[in-house]
Amino acid sequence: MKFEHRKMVIAMVLLLAGSCFAPGISPGQYQYAPPPKEITIDYLSDWYGPVQYNHEKHAQRADCQDCHHHTTGPEDSERPFRKRVNPACLVCHEQSPPSETVSCKQCHTRQQFYPGEVVKSDNPVLYHIDRTGLKRAYHQACMPCHLEKRTHTSCDSCHALTEKGRQAYQLQDKTGQKESSGQNE
Amino acid sequence: MDISIQYKTSVPIVSHVKPDGTAWTLKEKLWLGMPFQDYKRLALKNPVNWVLLAIFAVGIPLLLMRYLGGLDTVTNSSDDYPWGVFLGFGLFGMVPLSASGFLLGTTVEIFDRRDFLPIERLALLNGLLGYFFAVVYLLIDVGMPWRIYYPMIISLGPAAVLFLVAWHVATYLSVQIAEVSSAFFEWIGWLKAKRFIKAITLGLTIAGIILSTLHQGALGALFNYAPTKVHPLWFSASYNWIHFFCSAIFAGLSMVIVSSTICKHFLRWRCDTRFLGSVDDLTIKLGKGCAYAMITYLVIKMIGVAHDNDWAYLFTGWGQYFLLELGVGVFLPMLLFAFGVKHRSANLVRFAAFNAVLGIIWNRLNVALICFNWRMYQEIPRWQELWITLTILAVYFVVYRFILYRLPILYQWQGQR
């Protein structure tokens, strides 16, 4: 390489590296709109009603990456990105860029994962033979931390039962009588 | 009730005609040749009948409850122990004891041991009634008894061991009815029918022995379906069926000794001199057969333990129970049989026979109930279940007695044969 070219390359690298230290931007972080303070998660409501999720409060207690795993958030030297990810994923995705969206349901489908999908997808090296569906993804994002901190551990502390759910669980109504359920026999 | 003392001349009925030459009517035959009022009076005076009445007084309502309210009114309705005393005693217990039919039939007809003739009909009757009431117990235990014929024509599952049991028991019951029917035909005077039966007796007997071998063994093979549930000392994948078949041999022979003893003592008026004169000698001969069958059984049992390498289990609590059952239920009566035969003591042989019968019932109850689910809690049957079992046993007794009082089983028919 000619001397001038080499200087240009070094300058560009330095510029780019320097831009890392610009506030609010890190390698691999997109510029997202600021998250809403409260989110209503009701995509899967059936037996349970929507979850009124206080995003602001949770964002204060955890890093973005803890829930929006390896898609966004600043790198943390104490808990680097590598330590929060299943090493099986890193085999392929260590150098992957962040995804374009933080929404869970963009990757985790409503329909549960069935291994038959892998066969149908015709991809012989597809390693995602065990990708979770949306319902599990929601629960897995919240439950481990909640179990550790021992708060909000019962089902209805995060989402209230709907009428359908009350019937499904065969709950007694307010008068103390069993609600009618499926037919006998 | 020694009727012969009261009615010296006309009873017991031994032929078609009264001493004065007129023929007995069927009704007269039924009431043993005495006026019905007298028959009733004698029946009510009999303390055995009081006991039976007491049993029925509780048992019949219980049976109604079972059929109108469902099995859970009288059993534990256990999903872990699906089979209870109805099958444990009624089927698994009574069927080996009813092996007397094919054993004596084979002895007389196949091995041509005519010396056993006096006791043959009693053994055949014992077998027939035992199997018949085993089916009755089945009809009580099975969830939908009105469907009992389903494996015959509605929906067949031929790969199942129970399929074999069902078909064989049904066929064998027919064989036994045919064999006992010759006594009935004599009594009722249908001699042509009797001659037909006599013509096919050899075929019936061979059919009987085939069917008996297979279904006595099959009852044991039923427990092959539960290799994890029956205690290893009572379970042998290879030998279960042999254990059941071999023990059925001495069970059937012992039961003949037991019934003939009861008949000799309590039905003396009904037995003829041919029977009474030979019963002691035949008892000793049967005892000999039992002893041989028992030593064979003990050896095969030991082979079963060796084959599965279950020796270590003998040193556990269950092992002690196993040795107790074999010791008191098989080994002891075998010794008593041997002594009785050697010293020609019919009474010792009889005692051994009672012992052996109880030992067989104990063994079957062990396999089916007590050592079943040995790693689980022990199931204790409800008293209602036990009482119903007793009730059906009482009915069996009544039917047995009814037939013995009338048909030429313990005596030879003096009329046309």
Partner: protein, 305 residues
């Protein structure tokens, strides 16, 4: 009266018929299983014991209402005869809680029919009331059942329950893999769909085995290296992964690795032999005995003369 000539004629006829062999070669010996047979992998490390599966099953199969609501967790303490809950005449599936010493938290296990590849219940039924469908479910036909309860004796997992409480319509009650309502259309059973943490994964049995082994391979410290049901009782469609040794989660690890059917094959194969040999054998005994007796009586007659 049977004589030697008749006996030989009859015996020859019978043997010829037997030798003609009216049966063709058995296809069962070569059957390798239905290729699209479905199953469910139950991952006990994921189960949180919420009992939604029990609720979904009750609703889907229109079972009678339970004594306690499905989100009442005091049922985990219930003991009957010193045993934890098991499926009964009103319940196709139950979730039990265990405290394995290997873990610091309770372990939950869902119990239901394992839909074996070679079911013992099917093997033992003498009216052919059970069927292993191509989709993988072991279903039951109450219209031919006689109520003999031999299937309950045979099942090594203690699953079938009997409706003893009914006098006129007793029947076996057990999980049917939602065959009529879902499986036939390729849909997963109700319990699988209701699980909030995907402890239950539905798919072809072969794929589930691959998936289960992958999970163990990727998380070796999180699982015992064994899929319960891969070989037990000859293989089951519902299989289990566990973070603790299976005995500690209430599994019976002494269930043999071969189908229960194998235990009765020896006896059943003996049947045709008896049917063929016994007639000849005992006819032979009879002829021998008769000849001996005839000779004896002839000898005494000679002596008397």
């Amino acid at each position: 009266m049977i004589n030697r000539r008749h006996f030989m004629k009859g015996g020859l006829a019978a043997s010829t018929i037997g030798a003609l062999g009216l049966s063709k070669k058995s296809e069962a010996a070569d059957f390798a299983g239905y290729p699209d047979s479905m199953g469910v992998l139950v991952d006990l490390s994921r189960c949180i014991g919420c009992r939604s599966c029990e609720a979904a099953c009750n609703s889907e199969q229109q079972l009678p209402p339970p004594e306690k609501p499905f989100n009442d967790f005091s049922v985990f303490e219930e003991l009957r005869h010193g045993q934890k809950r098991r499926p009964d005449e009103n319940t196709y599936t139950v979730v039990n809680s265990y405290d394995p010493p290997a873990l610091d938290h309770p372990l939950f296990r869902k119990i239901q029919c394992n839909h074996c590849l070679e079911p013992a219940c099917l093997t033992s039924c003498f009216v052919n009331a059970y069927t292993k469908t191509p989709e993988g479910a072991v279903i039951y036909n109450p219209d031919v059942c006689v109520g003999c309860r031999n299937c309950m004796i045979a099942c090594p997992f203690y699953i079938p329950a009997f409706r003893y409480s009914s006098a006129f319509q007793p029947r076996i009650m057990k999980c049917v893999f939602c065959h009529d309502t879902r499986l036939r259309e390729g849909k997963p059973p109700a319990c699988v769909e209701s699980c909030p943490v995907e402890a239950l994964t539905f798919g072809r049995r072969t794929d589930l085995l691959a998936m289960g082994k992958q999970r163990i391979r990727q998380n070796p410290e999180s699982y015992v290296n064994h899929i319960y049901g891969e070989h037990e009782a000859g293989g089951t469609a519902w299989m289990y992964l566990s973070p603790a040794p299976f005995e500690q989660a209430g599994f019976d690890t002494t269930v043999p690795n071969e189908p229960i059917l194998n235990y009765v094959k020896d006896f059943l194969s003996f049947v045709p032999m008896v049917l063929m040999i016994w007639p000849a054998l005992f006819a032979g005994f009879h002829l021998l005995a008769k000849r001996k007796n005839d000779n004896t009586s002839a000898a005494t007659q000679d002596n008397e003369e």
